[in-house]
């Protein structure tokens, strides 16, 4: 760091607002639209202040209709604008699923590149904040399974700004998922200026030789905690990876790490069956089968709807469950 970069301490949700404001100042074609994003600044305040700065024509309180928001954003994106559409919660994206699946994700291929959809869909998601029913669904796998759309999940303020800017600049549709639990859980120094974190690149948060821990979103804090405790309690050293992008996945980072450790535990809060963890397992099989010294373990949410908040802690993976999996894997 030779030239001083001006930074400010931001929460993740503030960094997300900052990313949008930074880009909107530079580009008139960027629009923010969704339910309550204007005057109210979004139910999580992610768009706070944007309407005041950019006006009602660029920060738009839409009618309450997810299919409408995404469907019109597709048209806007195909015709010269760069919409950032907010879903109030990922659990309410289902009415828009048709538009994303049947159109946003495949207009480029259907028209051999004549039309494209450079849009970002932002959505808070995940359990652990005591939200009412259905608000807490963690259904990233529905979208990694969808050809033609990228899926990005930051876990901290610095990555959030850089990844969101990269998503806005991306020429294809990006689903940008924001773990609610991370919105205000910590602050980081975030550069005031524009910077990007590359889509498709994960991060190694800690070096260790015994086992690789892999997670994304709110589960990153859980594996960090588990790694710290297991080192103190058992002397096991973990390589800790935050994937940051689920599609496309950072194949090289995962392979490099598991080829060193020979063991892996993957943690996600979505149900295990059909979960993105299974893709990580396949990827390890493809790249590193002969390096592995133990079967890969997954610690996931259950194959049940995310329960109501009085028992959501019983649904979510926690550091104890992760540590148990680490021990079983290391002692295999």
């Amino acid at each position: 760091m030779s030239t001083a970069v001006k930074t400010q301490k931001l929460t993740m949700v503030q960094a997300i607002t900052d990313a949008m404001a930074t880009m909107m100042r530079e580009h008139d074609d960027i629009l923010v639209l969704g339910e309550d994003v204007g005057k109210n600044g979004g139910v999580f305040r992610a768009t706070d202040g944007l309407e005041a700065e950019f006006g009602e024509k660029r920060v738009i309180d839409t009618p309450l209709a997810e299919s409408g928001i995404i469907g019109t954003s597709i048209g806007l994106a195909m015709n010269g604008f760069r919409p950032i559409a907010e879903m109030q919660f990922l659990g309410f994206i289902y009415p828009a699923f048709n538009q994303i699946m049947t159109h946003a994700s495949r207009i480029r291929s259907r028209t051999l590149g004549t039309f494209t959809v450079p849009m970002v869909i932002r959505a808070p998601f995940g359990a652990g904040v005591r939200a009412p029913e259905i608000h807490s669904d963690s259904v990233e796998a529905l979208f990694t399974h969808m050809p033609g759309i990228k899926v990005v999940i930051p876990s901290n303020a610095y990555d959030a700004k850089g990844l969101l800017i990269a998503s806005i600049e991306d020429p294809d549709p990006v689903l940008f998922l924001e773990p609610m639990r991370c919105y205000r859980s910590h602050k980081l120094e975030v550069p005031e200026e524009k910077y990007t974190v590359e889509i498709g690149k994960g991060a190694r948060l800690q070096e260790g030789d015994d086992i690789t821990l892999i997670a994304w979103g709110a589960m990153v804090d859980v594996i960090k905690k588990a790694a710290k405790e297991i080192e103190e309690e058992e002397g096991i050293h973990c390589d800790v990876l935050d994937l940051r992008t689920l599609y496309p996945m950072d194949r090289d980072l995962i392979a490099e790490s598991v080829q060193k450790t020979g063991r892996a535990v993957i943690v996600h809060e979505a149900p295990g069956t059909g979960g993105v963890g299974n893709d990580v397992v396949s990827l390890i099989n493809d790249t590193s089968f002969l390096y592995m010294r133990a079967p890969i373990k997954r610690v996931t949410g259950h194959d049940t709807p995310v329960p109501m908040c009085a028992i959501e802690d019983d649904y979510l993976p926690n550091a104890d469950r992760v540590k148990q999996a680490i021990i079983e894997t290391v002692r295999f």
Partner: protein, 355 residues
């Protein structure tokens, strides 16, 4: 269009009857029942807000101001009819016989909160906006095919009319002539978005035209007009004459939820001022007074009974014990699949280890 769908009213803001269409049916007994049920709904709502503030339940969705719309419409239901509420319609579900204890448990985050008393066809609150309109249509359609004279009532807000499911619900009901009453509470806002930003049409009732079904616009703070017009719609449905769309124009004084700050998008002084003109309870009280039906001692006695009922429900909620994590696994399917069973077994083993 607005003139084609004038707002119907029976009782004006001063509690004076301005439309004598139903006067013969406005008995002292009915009037007092309507009043008691509204008061009960309000006291339940205020208790819930207090419980939330004390941290005894989680986030809560208040409805104060909407009592006439919810109580007047639900009192017309008969045994066997179906009710499809949203997260805000506790006044309606309570009136139709939901247990207050379970409503409290719902907001405490307990799965038990979704369970209505036995034999009560009350669906769990619809959390996704507008999805329930189609369920109501399907349930009503089933009654029609079974040849009963039962029907559905479904509640939804003004924001809900923007969703595709609203239009699909009305269209299906209209095509199949299903016995369903679409009961809209237009409280002027979908969280922060005022009706003018939600739709260009001046009324919600007029949307019925597109589906060739009756659309009615009511003063939703006038419990008489709500009660008699909903009854008329339900009777019509029972006779096999099909669905009706009712727009009850009302106002919610408080926040969207206890996690929301309305001062960001709404003039709080106006909300206060509105009470004088829109409060449905005050209006009926004025009427009762004009008629000489109202005595403070009666009100005090009613209040005391309701207080006791609600306190008992709170006690029962708190005596219910910890929420049962196994509920998460045991009701996913009638017979658990191997994956759910494996996960349940692992869960049980973990819990045992912890103790």
């Amino acid at each position: 269009m607005e003139t084609q769908f004038p707002m119907k009213q029976i009782l004006n803001e001063d509690g004076i009857v301005v439309n004598s269409e139903y006067e013969s049916q406005m008995t002292e007994e009915l009037t007092k029942e309507l009043y008691v049920m509204m008061l009960r709904a309000r006291m339940f709502d205020r208790k819930s807000v207090n419980l939330q503030r004390q941290g005894r339940i989680g986030t809560y969705v208040p409805f104060e101001g909407q009592e006439a719309a919810q109580v007047g419409s639900s009192l017309v239901l008969e045994e066997g009819d179906w009710m499809f509420p949203t997260y805000r319609d506790h006044g309606a579900t309570l009136t139709y016989g939901h247990s207050a204890r379970n409503l409290f448990l719902y907001w405490k985050g307990y799965p038990m909160g979704c369970v209505p008393p036995e034999g009560k066809n009350i669906f769990p609150p619809a959390v996704p906006i507008a999805s329930q309109l189609l369920h109501a249509t399907g349930a009503a359609w089933a009654e029609q095919m079974k040849g009963t004279d039962r029907g559905s009532i479904v509640y939804f807000g003004d924001g809900a009319t923007s969703e595709g499911d609203f239009h699909e619900g009305l269209n299906f009901a209209s095509v199949y002539n299903a016995p369903v009453v679409f009961f809209n509470q237009n409280n002027g806002f979908a969280i922060s978005v005022p009706t003018e930003k939600q739709m260009k049409s001046k009324t919600i009732a007029q949307k019925a035209v597109a589906y060739d079904i009756p659309g009615v616009r009511l003063d939703g703070n006038d419990i008489f007009v709500v009660y008699f017009e909903t009854k008329k719609a339900m009777d019509r449905a029972r006779r096999g004459e099909g669905p009706t769309l009712i727009e009850a124009v009302t106002y919610r004084y408080g926040a969207h939820t206890t996690a929301d700050d309305p001062s960001k998008y709404r003039d709080q002084e106006e909300s206060k001022r509105r009470r004088e003109t829109t409060d449905p309870l005050l209006r009926l009280e004025r009427y009762l007074q004009n008629k000489g039906y109202f005595e403070e001692s009666w009100k005090a006695q009613v209040e005391e009974e309701i207080t006791k009922e609600i306190e008992k429900a709170v006690e029962d909620m708190e005596a219910y014990g910890p929420a049962e994590p196994s509920d998460m696994f045991t009701h996913v399917f009638e017979t658990p699949t191997w994956s759910v069973q494996d996960q349940y077994d692992a869960f049980k083993a973990r819990v045992k280890e912890e103790v």
